[in-house]
Amino acid sequence: MTRTCLPIVVLTVTLLAIAAPLAAQRPQVPGDVGVALDAERRGDFVAAAAAYQRALAANQADATALLGLERSLEPLNRSGEMLGPALAAVARAPGSAAYSALVRAWVAHRNIDSARAAVSGWSALAKGESAPYRELVQALVRTRQRAEAKRAIEWGRAQLGNDNAMAYDMAQLRASEGDWAGATREWLAAARELPGYRLTALAALTPVPERERGAVRTVLGTERTLEARELEAGLLARWGDPDEAVKVLIAALPSDRARASEALRGFATGLQSRPDAARARGAALEELARRNAGDAAARARVEAAQAYQQAGDQAGARRVLAALPAGRGGAAAAASAASTLVGVLLAEGKPAEAEAELDKLRDRLPADEWQALRRSVALGWARAGQIDHGEATLAGDSTVEGLAMRGRLAIFRGDLKGAVDLFRSAGPYAGSREEGAHRTALLALVQPITSDTLPALGAALLALEQGDSARGARALEQIGEALSADQGGAEVMLLAASVRASLGDSTDAEALLRKAAASEVAATAPAAELELARLLLAQRRSSEAVSLLEHLILTWPRSATVPEARRALDEAKGAVPPS
């Protein structure tokens, strides 16, 4: 060694002296198992397997090494090597770890008889437990030996004297074969053993094909328990019949208030994100309120009223609110009830009463919530034909949402220029996404019209707002005919066609769309052709639709509708699976 190397050696020795105690402070698994775990963590399964094998050579009963070896051999496709270590482990220290490894090893070797013998040995130690049988079943399922797995379940059930054992596993096997009725029977059994399985069953049975649903309901009907009805109601709701679902559930509720409330609350919660099931949710909550008293009942009533209102069932909402005792449920519930009532009154076309109710709420609602209701009242006045009153209601509302609402009222008045200015001032992000899209559509409708005012168009749009679609469509058609195509006529015609189509009047809709499509107005004609093609496709007039879509793509290649048209064309030709 030269003299220059000496400092390096000294430094190395010093560092090692410092590092050794630090390393000793880390928790360490001693010997080969520690080496193996480290290698396994690094993904070096070859080294891990070798280290585990060394550990097992020293102690065949080392369960950590045995299971580690199994984990390491699997990614190496060497699971077949597990048989020897597993047999040795069982011979030295028969326990659940050793037996489970042996069962899996025999299954990997396709030796089912030996796997069963291992299960028998294990179950002698764990009398009455399903774990040994389940291990066999799961190993068979993992290796896709489904028929053998079913036989193993039947064998386990016979040995355990329990027909419901391993129902969870059997249910999944039956479902994988398309035997949905059989799967349902097993899920019921599983839920009997462990109620927590009901939610799993609900998720597992949701994909049942429509043609099999009757058989599933028949099986569910054989069990006269609330749990079965809850499952049935949950499935019906997910299969698109929430109203029938809530009837099934309510008819099966027990007199036990706590259990009934739990079932109703669970059902209602499950429908919370389903606008299409709002009425059923309202019914469940109304029943919940009926079965409870005091504040709990009051809160359920308010929720029920909101659900009914969301479903458009104003009578239901009123009925529930009428049964709400004053002062119950606390201030928040009272405010919610009152704001719900405002919505109900507006939906019933009673803006004066709604305004009066809202005035009472001024100090009880957050300012932005109160103002949003105020804008709804303004729209309610406009719907009632009192646009002036609506505009007066908006006085003092300087929000962008307020500007947007003023724009809507200006359109109803026929003040197109004023509406466009207000919409522009409000910007694209005022209010909800739907409101933004609605505003954009209105802008697209009125911008090509050169006249600053067009009261007839305002009246037509107001008729639509009032729900009088037929009158609105007639008026729009007349306006569309009167205006020249490139000055808004085509766009108004397109809107009239959409209204006709929504009324189910496809003949008139088609005629109007053809007029709009023939306009050659760049912004309107392709949209009209696309809508017309969709209308024709819905009527199974595919060849006509294909012609139109081709015309659209070729004539308006830069239109934003072209990607949609290509998709529709592919679907019409069967080139892609239907959306």
Binding site: N77, S79, G80, A108, R110, R142, T143, R144, Q145, R146, A147, E148, S176, E177, G178, D179, R514, K515, A517, A518, S519, E520, S547, L548, E550, H551, I553, L554, T555, W556, P557, R558, V562, R566, R567, L569, D570, K573, G574, A575, V576, P577
Partner: protein
């Protein structure tokens, strides 16, 4: 515009007699050629094949520019092709005679070639009558690209109708007649019951004692079709099982659930591999419960002990001027493509016959992905895997929507095969 005028314009456009306004100028000038680039500038690679195919159907001449911008097409500049490309959303560029000359010069100096395509091939897909179009990658590709095809099944094959076609694709059929060996694991499943019933009825109707016997006869007819000049393309399990069926003429390789008798004990020894198209010396899978047929498949997806993970496969680079056929079959804008499972995913190198051309492999792996060969006057191509855009494909998976994969390199390989029979035959050096 008056309604009458509008209707007239539409009708004319539909008939291909007139082009709508934005395209009229182009038709008036009539570009000499349209170049459909097949590199990353192409908006829809898959539909480009359909545009070329339909041009051939109209009697036009198309050139396939091998290795030029990832296998571009030189299409006629007529109004019908302009219209077709516009409808399909396929990127085409007007190309005049000068530009074409320049392209040809570039092709001349590089590993490229221009192959004339002359006649749209008559395409048949061997597929059971009840098969949905969404169950087979080739059918999906043809539907999406708009390539016309007819469906044939056992009856048509046995009746000798294959010579009516130039190109035959095999749906993922099990030609060993063992119903893809799903019988024990999916016992009772309605789709399996229907599949078995349909096959058993067909075997009976055609006078065969069992489905394996009938499928073997079908396999021999298909092999004869190739020998007599047909083009065969197979994917997934059809690749492996057609060779197993051909090689097992003098032994029983089917499990008892298929023909009432178990596989012959000496089946491996009695396989006659000289009859097979691509493989030799494979070992048969003995277990009737395992949906594996032999060790031809490198990935063994249904064998828990032998299953291999998916990697990526690499396309070979052939000499376009010397080996135009494999060059055509590997035209792509990607050279490395993610692998995808099928009942047969890949082909073990060990089992390939010496004359087989490997066109794609997973480097370093003992298997290859995409192979071809010639028999008699015909040619066959085998492509492992089920669906290039559904790598883990499981029974019951939602169908693949190719509109979401218009640039799929895996599907391009399928469509290369469809156009390949259209190439003008010239003496091949391989």
């Amino acid at each position: 515009m008056k309604r009458r005028h509008f209707m007239g314009t539409t009708a004319a456009a539909v008939a291909g007699l007139a082009l709508p306004a934005p395209l009229r100028g182009l038709a008036g000038r009539r570009a000499s050629w349209l170049l459909a680039p097949m590199d990353d500038t192409q908006a829809d690679h898959l539909k480009a094949y359909g545009v070329a195919f339909r041009a051939l159907e109209r009697g036009e001449k198309v050139e396939w520019l091998l290795n030029y911008r990832s296998g571009s097409f030189l299409l006629p500049g007529d109004a019908a092709t302009v219209r077709d490309a516009a409808l399909a959303g396929v990127t085409v560029r007007e190309t005049d005679a000068g530009a074409v000359t320049s392209i040809r010069a570039e092709i001349e100096q590089a590993n490229m070639d221009a192959v004339p395509l002359e006649k749209a091939p008559r395409v048949a897909i061997y597929s059971p009558p009840n098969a949905a179009p969404w169950d087979d990658a080739v059918t999906m590709a043809l539907e999406y690209a708009g390539v016309k095809y007819e469906k044939v099944w056992d009856e048509e094959v046995i009746q000798g109708r294959l010579p009516d076609y130039d190109w035959l694709h095999l749906h993922h059929e099990d030609f060993t007649g063992q119903f893809s060996k799903f019988v024990l694991n999916y016992a009772g499943a309605p789709w399996l019951i229907e599949m078995m019933q349909r096959n058993q009825d067909m075997a009976r109707a055609l006078g065969f004692p069992s489905v394996p016997a009938e499928k073997r006869a079908v396999a021999h007819r298909i092999a004869s079709f190739v020998e007599e000049g047909g083009f065969l393309f197979a994917m997934c399990t059809a690749t492996e099982t057609i060779d197993l069926a051909l090689a097992s003429a003098s032994t029983d390789i089917a499990a008892s659930f298929a023909d009432g008798t178990p596989m012959a004990a000496d089946a491996n020894a009695r396989m006659d591999w000289s009859r097979a198209l691509a493989f030799e010396n494979a070992r048969l899978e003995q277990s009737p419960t395992m949906a594996v047929f032999s060790d031809i498949d490198g990935h063994q997806v249904n064998s828990p002990d032998r299953r291999q993970e998916l990697g990526a496969f690499t396309l070979f680079d052939f000499s376009a001027k010397i080996d135009p056929v494999p060059t055509m079959l590997v035209q792509n804008h990607r050279q490395v493509i993610p692998d995808f499972y099928g009942l047969t995913t890949s082909f073990s190198r060990r089992t390939l016959k010496p004359g087989v051309t490997v066109m794609a492999e997973e480097p370093g792996a003992p298997w290859v992905k995409y192979i071809r060969g010639e028999v008699g006057q015909g040619t066959w191509t085998f492509y492992g895997g089920h669906d290039p855009e559904d790598p883990q494909h499981q029974i019951g998976d939602a169908p693949t929507d190719l509109a979401l994969h218009p640039h799929s390199p895996g599907y391009r390989l399928i469509l290369n095969n469809v156009l390949f029979p259209a190439a003008k035959k010239k003496e091949l050096k391989t």
